[in-house]
């Protein structure tokens, strides 16, 4: 009996050793950015040989929450006779490891700008077959190519875009409020507009919040200068007594419920909340004059998508002029689809929250490679 017991224990420990050894040996395959999965094999793969309108199976979508009009999904299902499942994520960082690991089963994902860059480097995306997506020609020229994260538009096609800025409760500050990050970062200005005490929130995101501070200081939000980052960190540390929370989810609700008077967040969410409020004119949103973030979300296909042709067809479907407009009318984010403009509701087109009048102030967040660690550390240190 004893012997048997030992055999079991030995077998168990050998199995552990085996796994450890296997982990070691898999190192050479994982070095080019794949964490555990097989993202590497795809680096050399060419675009899949799909034709326009081709269907090779059902579609599994992995997208941000409430970002896709359910009616568009129904329309796609009916037109092409496939069934579509949609799952949601709440941040790029939660989505990427899942795709990167391989075998996720998703055909269609919507990563933001900098994340497209990361995912291309990590071999997470497959090249798009442009022939299968004739509607790519509907994109406005500035979105069709030359985007910093995917210069040749090889792996991604823009989905929607928006900005990051400040939402303000005008009943607290008065109607004439200067459009500046100073409302949060400048103590004198904050005092002048009744923003002392803990009445502001910043995003709980190192790149966005340090980016805002960098913009206020007059630097690029993609800086890789340690001195500039240090200044931004100190600036955030000095505003802690005016910041109620670092909040990425409910900044818009905190604003309209009076819990905060100036909050940092994304354009479309504010607009949704303002339209819902009793007195929408009590609130405003702007990108401060020092500049802010423009983000672009993109359609892409994971390297190991089970049904890439259906995914191509879906991208083409969404880039159609009328459907692109339907999407913007539904989720109130700006469309990169130029052909869609005539079909977009005029009040949406005229709304400066959706379509800012001056886009020259805007900068996209880019992956800074190893410097991302400095951003993360600075954001942690700034909060003590």
């Amino acid at each position: 009996m004893k012997l048997k017991k030992y055999t079991r224990l030995i077998a168990a420990s050998m199995a552990i050793a085996l796994v450890a050894a296997a982990c070691g040996s898999s190192s050479d395959t994982a070095t080019d950015g794949g964490d555990g999965g097989g993202g590497d094999a795809i680096q050399t793969a060419s675009a899949s040989s799909c034709e326009a309108g081709q269907i090779d199976g059902d579609l599994a979508i992995f997208n941000w929450t409430e970002y896709m009009d359910p009616e568009l999904i129904v329309a796609f299902e009916e037109e092409f006779g496939v069934s579509v499942t949609e799952d949601n994520y709440d941040s790029n960082e939660a989505m990427q490891p899942i795709i990167n690991a391989g075998g996720s089963g998703f055909d269609f994902i919507v990563p933001s700008d900098y994340m497209v860059g990361i995912m291309i480097d990590a071999g997470n995306l497959q090249p798009l077959n442009r022939d299968a997506i004739p509607n790519l020609q509907n994109l406005a020229p500035e979105f069709a190519s030359g985007l910093p994260y995917d210069p040749d538009a090889e792996f991604s096609a823009p989905y929607q875009w928006g900005t990051t800025g400040l939402g303000v409760d005008l009943t607290v500050t008065g109607p004439d409020v200067p459009q500046t990050w100073g409302l949060i970062f400048d103590p004198e200005l904050a005092a002048e507009f009744n923003l002392e005490g803990q009445f502001s929130t910043l995003l709980n995101d190192p790149r966005e919040t340090l980016g805002a501070a960098l913009k206020f200081l007059g630097y690029s939000l993609n800086t890789t200068s340690e001195a500039e980052l240090q200044e931004a960190e100190e600036l955030i540390a000095s505003t802690l007594d005016r910041v109620a929370a670092f909040e990425s989810d409910q900044y818009d609700e905190l604003l309209v419920t009076g819990e905060a008077a100036v909050t940092h967040g994304y354009s479309g969410n504010f607009l949704f909340q303002f339209l819902d409020a009793e007195n929408p004119e009590d609130f405003t949103y702007f990108v401060p004059e020092e500049g802010g973030t423009r983000w672009i979300d993109n359609m892409a296909i994971p390297f190991d998508a089970p049904n890439p042709c259906t995914a191509h067809t879906f991208i083409n479907f969404l880039l159609d002029a009328e459907r692109g407009a339907q999407l913007t009318n539904w989720n109130l984010y700006a469309s990169p689809n130029e052909a869609a403009t005539p079909f977009i509701d005029q009040e949406v087109l005229d709304d400066p929250i959706v379509y800012p009048t001056d886009t020259s102030l805007l900068e996209e967040i880019e992956d800074t490679g190893d410097f991302e660690i400095n951003f993360s550390d600075a954001f942690t240190s700034a909060r003590g």
């Binding site: 994520y89 490891p97 819902d276």
Partner: protein
């Protein structure tokens, strides 16, 4: 029996007061949740008049219903399995000593200690590397979620069962064996009733943990296997809509109903759990 437990005046009064306060504390957010599930406003916390439309939306929303169904399936299966495994482990560690029991003891604590996100990441790497290591391809979804939930629930169950067993003497079991009860009979009619409160406690914990887990589930789920907490988590970006409150109320009501029903059934059979 009851008289021996009676405490004198002040202490007795303080005990009941404490109990009522604890229940008040437990149910304060629940009351808020129920109230706002009937509020005709998109914001929880801003009353917009009475409505039942969120319950209607719940009935119409396939996404929520799918997620709810997934959650319940995972929770029940993982609870059943982890209760069986965890109880056996607890019994064994408390009543027997064998080579390797120390190591097992330590291993049992680790799932309680590991941070959620760490476990999420490691389960993701584990399931995907199975393919590289032994050529086993597991489609992420219901099975991987359930396997992961069992992995953390076993420990919680066994800790509660052991707290029940610790210091409890074996005289009753030995008496039963002396009376020629088989090992199974001894377990079924002596040990099991003795440790049942511990098992129930452990099962309740396991069920709760499974129904609440977001991070680990999010990492090991696949297309269409989203559970309710993950669904809610991703929805919160658009604000906590009273729809989610309505779903929570339905879950609360259904679980309360089921549990009370089973208690009644036990009572009518003439036996009590303890």
């Amino acid at each position: 029996m009851a008289t021996t437990k009676e405490l004198r005046g002040g202490a007795k009064w303080a005990l009941s007061l404490n109990a009522w306060l604890v229940y008040f504390f437990f149910y304060a957010p629940i009351a808020l949740l129920v109230v706002f599930s009937f509020s005709d406003d998109n914001l929880v916390g801003r009353w917009g008049g009475f409505t039942t439309r969120w319950y209607g939306e719940f009935l119409d929303n396939d996404g929520v219903q799918n997620a709810l169904g997934n959650s319940i399936r995972v929770a029940i299966l993982s609870t059943v399995i982890s209760v069986v495994l965890g109880t056996m482990a607890g019994l064994s560690l408390e009543r027997y000593r064998f080579r390797g029991s120390r190591m097992f003891d330590a291993l049992l604590y680790l799932p309680v200690i590991v941070p959620d996100v760490t476990m999420a990441v490691m389960m993701l790497i584990f399931f995907t590397s199975l393919d590289d290591l032994i050529g086993l391809q597991i489609t992420r979804g219901f099975s991987t979620i359930t396997l992961s939930h069992i992995a953390f629930s076993i420990s919680f169950v066994s800790i509660v069962v052991r707290a029940r067993l610790a210091g409890m003497s074996e005289t009753l079991e030995e008496a039963a064996q002396d009376l020629y009860a088989t090992r199974w009979q001894t377990f079924r009619f002596v040990t099991l009733p003795l440790i049942l409160p511990g098992i129930i406690g452990g099962a309740l914990l396991a069920l709760t943990l499974s129904l609440d887990d977001v991070v680990i589930t999010q990492f090991v789920s696949g297309p269409g296997s989203t559970t309710l907490p993950v669904f809610v988590f991703s929805l919160i970006r658009r604000g906590v809509s009273p729809l989610i409150n309505a779903v929570s109320v339905v879950m609360l009501a259904a679980s309360a109903f089921l549990v009370l029903l089973s208690l009644l059934a036990q009572r009518s059979r003439g036996g009590s759990v303890t």
